[in-house]
């Protein structure tokens, strides 16, 4: 029982976050390849009129 609990904890403690992390890294790479970052930069490097209430 104790051993089972330990195994279960270990899995949820480390493997799930590691899998989400790896998935996140893959998504970021896909996003960079798809030039999403350019959209982010284009928006972020100019004053966003909507954000500051002038939009």
């Amino acid at each position: 029982m104790g051993d089972n609990m330990k195994k279960e904890s270990k899995a949820s403690r480390y493997i799930i976050p590691a899998a989400i992390f790896a998935c996140g890294v893959t998504f970021v790479i896909i996003g960079i390849a798809d030039k999403e970052v350019l959209t982010v930069l284009r928006k972020a490097a100019a004053i966003c009129m909507e954000c500051i209430g002038l939009g």
């Binding site: 609990m5 330990k6 904890s9 270990k10 949820s12 403690r13 480390y14 799930i16 976050p17 590691a18 989400i20 992390f21 998935c23 996140g24 890294v25 893959t26 998504f27 970021v28 790479i29 896909i30 996003g31 960079i32 798809d34 999403e36 970052v37 959209t39 982010v40 930069l41 284009r42 928006k43 972020a44 490097a45 100019a46 004053i47 966003c48 009129m49 909507e50 954000c51 500051i52 209430g53 002038l54 939009g55």
Partner: protein, 382 residues
Amino acid sequence: MKDIILWVFGIDESALADPVTITAIIATFVVIAAALAALIVLLVKKRFQIRRFGNKVWQRTKLITQACFFMLTNSFMIGWFKGTIYQGKLKYLCVPGMNCYSCPGAWGACPIGSLQAIFNDFDAKKSWVDQKTGTYVKVPKYWFAFYLIGLLMIIGAVCGRFVCGLLCPFGWVQDLLYKIPVKKLRLPRDEMRIANSKHPKAVRFFLGVDKYLRYAKYAFLIIMVIFLPLLVKADPWFCKYVCPSGMLLGGIPLMSMNRSLAAAAGNLTLLKLCILASLTVISLFLYRPFCRYICPLGAIYSFFNKVSLYRYGIDDASCNRAKGCAACAHACPMGVDPVRDPNSLECIRCGTCAASCPKKAIRPGFRFKTAEGNAIRTKKSK
């Protein structure tokens, strides 16, 4: 070295002829050094060991950490000095918290603003003019924001809503407002206290309202950050009609330093100022109203609380709950009972419960066993 500075600050060489720019660059280094020095002192003094020094010391440590993180991520002093914003390449990256990219000091992009920007982008080749109505029909360029969602998954997988507790500038502002000594609105949570209160029916009613209002942040996320920008109109809906962080960190400083921007103020400015003013007043009485009910970023991070690497756990062998202790639940400013659900979606990882527990039974961190070998429960209690 000079080239690196020019690249980091996103300026060209001619800008260095301006004494204001030079002063601002020096000020930037001073601010960053001060923030790092403060964090190192806290680290050396072991102040991040939440349970070690009690709640008073932890609250101070928390506020200093939040201030330092704000200084690190908003220290583009050229912007603060000149009423402009940073336009360099670091803005490819998002900061973890709700930090408007139009803040004069912001080095990075806001994740929620960027998410809407990606959904707002349209494919010029596929878009077309509707002959009947004469309107330009925009076809979204991206149906899924891989880059942004990937970044949020990375942050979420590591620390979940820890970002809300310690790293978000708008969370920090609300924490500071709540420090102002006025009577606080804090409802009892356990049955005995509710029954013993002056108006148990009213308490139950407000607890119900609070419970259901908390779902509103998921509605803001789905409707104003995803659905409307992607499918209805290419506008940053949340930033434009709701976000008080944009007004506070971007609008007010920029308009106060830049007359042409101030001259453009209109009804939208008024709306956003009213939202900001209302939240400011509510924050004096109620802990973090924006994070509780509105913030779409908090809504995203909340999904990671139960699966992130950094998690809260309970050492049931030390916990005195069976003997009637509920110090942690009474201390929690977000109305969570950490013993019942240590990784609740509403927990912002502020550490107050762990610092307040007399038995030191709440274990924030990465482990699943205490040093004494007791199991740490990260799941809900039955």
